[in-house]
């Protein structure tokens, strides 16, 4: 798909990459090396053939393998995404439970409004503001980079970016948990538990919650696209390595093979995440299995 677009856009990638001062021979040479002198369908075939063998071409600037370059960055991005999901879940599920159990109280209302508004705030503004508040003004946490070796050190650097990415999701998850919690709490088996005289907290946490968090799992799969986008900005703002930082840099330097590599990898991550969420959901909830 991207290949088609590269072809469709006027201008020759080779001359863009070499700059206006390159000689005609240099341009020809690069065109040949990138197989740009061959017809489009051959190029496409070659690209997908190489892709299937795990070869995404070479970086035009450093001459390294794109697969290696992108591969090095994936763990950083995944760590960030998982940490931000953790933030969202840790804050979102209790908030959702509370709102469902104590319906229409002040806190429930505030959560409702906040969840709508926090979703609307762009993640990069969130990242900049949290950088400003917690790192620059309060100096609680380090501002940029990922820190030196060592788990605790790394984790300290991870807290703030993960918070910035995950916080938009707190409200989202709280809302979903609240809605499904209300549904579950109205069901007969919960009423049965009440009739048995079980304490309310036990009903909520032992019997209702495991059912109520099911929808959030699918949500996490769908939200992967959002999290990936937010991670791009978080990586740039907090100067962390990762696929997002890589693609931004590659776009800036018009490093097409690297851009392509990043697009392929992120899209792959997205697809895998969605599929995983479906599978996990099916494992947790027998009712969903038929639809799979």
């Amino acid at each position: 798909m991207l290949h088609v677009m590269i072809r469709a856009v006027p201008g020759d990638p080779a001359s863009i990459m070499l700059g206006p001062r390159a000689s005609a021979e240099q341009r020809e040479e690069l065109r040949h090396r990138m197989r740009l002198d061959e017809p489009a369908h051959v190029q496409l075939g070659v690209y997908f053939g190489n892709l299937a063998r795990g070869d995404m071409g070479t970086d035009v600037v450093s001459g390294r393998q794109v697969t290696t370059i992108v591969g090095e960055q994936v763990p950083h991005t995944l760590t960030l995404i998982f940490a931000s999901i953790a933030w969202a879940v840790i804050l979102g599920i209790p908030l959702g439970c509370y709102s469902a159990v104590r319906r229409n109280t002040l806190i429930d209302r505030i959560t409702g409004v906040l969840s709508v508004s926090v979703i609307a705030i762009p993640s990069f503004v969130m990242a900049l503001y949290s950088l400003l508040i917690f790192a620059v003004a309060l100096k609680w946490l380090p501002a940029t980079g990922i820190g030196d070796e060592g788990f605790l050190e790394r984790a300290r650097y991870l807290i703030l970016p993960a918070f910035a990415v995950g916080v938009s999701w707190v409200g989202y998850i709280a809302r979903v948990v609240r809605a499904s919690m209300l549904e579950v709490l109205g069901e007969t088996h919960v009423r049965m538990n009440r009739a048995f005289g079980l304490p309310e907290w036990r009903i909520v946490f032992r019997y209702a919650l495991p059912l109520a968090i099911l929808p959030t799992v699918t949500l996490l799969g769908v939200g992967m696209a959002y999290l990936l986008s937010a991670a791009v900005f978080a990586e740039v703002v907090f100067a962390r390595p990762g696929v997002g930082a890589l693609i931004v840099e590659a776009v800036g330097s018009r490093n097409y093979p690297v851009v392509m590599g990043c697009v392929v990898v992120t899209t792959g991550l997205f697809v895998v995440a969605t599929a995983l969420a479906d599978i996990i959901n099916a494992l947790l909830d027998p009712r969903a299995r038929e639809g799979l």
Binding site: I121, P122, V125, V248, R254, V259, T266
Partner: protein, 298 residues
């Protein structure tokens, strides 16, 4: 498919019956957030329209002696690293944001509408082909897709508009398609057909008005996403080119000096937050009032 039945019962887009405006006001008063949203949006639109007359300084004028100044009576939002007045840049930036939103929404809506009608009313193979393209475009995370497109087109205001339009066309086209499909075998359409009406008449006179209402409400809810995308791309240096003021470029400029002076970042982010909140609240209120069944899955 709750969205499919909506228009059939509602008939022509609401707001056309007599007294509808009064009714609308009464409903809006019941939605305090919607009212806040409306006020914010109006403020933004007005300031964008009258921007050249209300800015206190020329947004690109460089005051060498007053670099990175804190807010003061002369510069309400302080100045940036070149000594440009941030308030003036914020106001002019609102113009850019709305311009991008209007242009790209206009393009996306009209093309999406056309493709959606074609997919919904045309032959099966066309429908399948169009759906495949829609899904291909939507399968990329938006920002990644946008970055890839910018890599090809080069960063500029027009690239941003193009990117936003391309990524939103599939959304609208899909909605129009489902609505059209649902109406296709409706009795009044069949009757019209039996009377020998051409496709243009059926689509233009009967399908279009019924599809347009919900589409416009959804579009108003997408404005925050567009503003976010424009500001985000500009923040990354992939959108509007300097020196044109955009909320994103203000943040980008301010980010480099965040330790010396936080003001450009604070005041560059604020309008983005207010604008997205305003459009979200307004959109949700509009939806609840006009078309409660239109709720997307959260």
């Amino acid at each position: 498919m709750s969205a499919t039945e909506t228009t059939m019962t509602d008939g022509v887009a609401p707001g056309e019956e007599p007294g509808a405006l009064k009714q609308f006001w009464r409903n809006l008063r019941g939605e305090p957030l919607g009212l806040i949203g409306l006020v914010l949006v109006l403020l933004l639109v007005l300031s964008a329209i009258f921007a050249p007359w209300i800015v206190p300084y020329n947004p690109n004028e460089i005051l060498v002696g007053e670099r990175l100044a804190a807010p003061s009576a002369a510069h309400w939002m302080g100045t940036d690293q070149l000594g440009r007045d941030v308030l003036s840049r914020v106001i002019m930036g609102g113009r850019v944001a709305l311009l991008v939103a209007l242009a790209s929404l206009g393009a996306a809506l009209s093309i999406g509408l056309l493709l959606g009608l074609l997919a919904g009313f045309g032959p099966r193979w066309l429908d399948n082909g169009l759906l495949l393209i829609f899904d291909a475009v939507r399968s990329f995370p938006v920002i990644i897709f946008a970055l890839a497109l910018v890599a090809l087109l080069g960063p500029s205001l027009y690239s941003v508009i193009f990117v936003v339009a391309v990524t939103s066309i599939p959304i609208y086209a899909r909605i129009v398609r489902t609505q059209t499909l649902a109406m296709r075998n409706n009795e009044f359409i069949l009757a019209e057909r039996a009377m020998g009406a051409g496709m243009a008449r059926i689509l233009g006179v009967h399908v279009l008005p019924n599809v347009l209402g919900p589409l416009l409400i959804l579009a108003s809810m997408d404005v925050p996403l567009i503003i976010t995308l424009e500001a985000g791309l500009s923040f990354l240096g992939m959108g509007v080119r300097p020196p044109t003021p955009s909320w994103g470029t203000i943040l980008n400029d301010g980010y480099s000096y965040i330790r010396n002076s936080p003001w450009p970042v604070i005041f560059g982010g604020l309008p983005i937050v207010l604008a997205t909140l305003g459009f979200t609240f307004m959109g949700e209120a509009l939806r609840d009032i006009f078309d409660p069944k239109l709720k997307r899955d959260l």
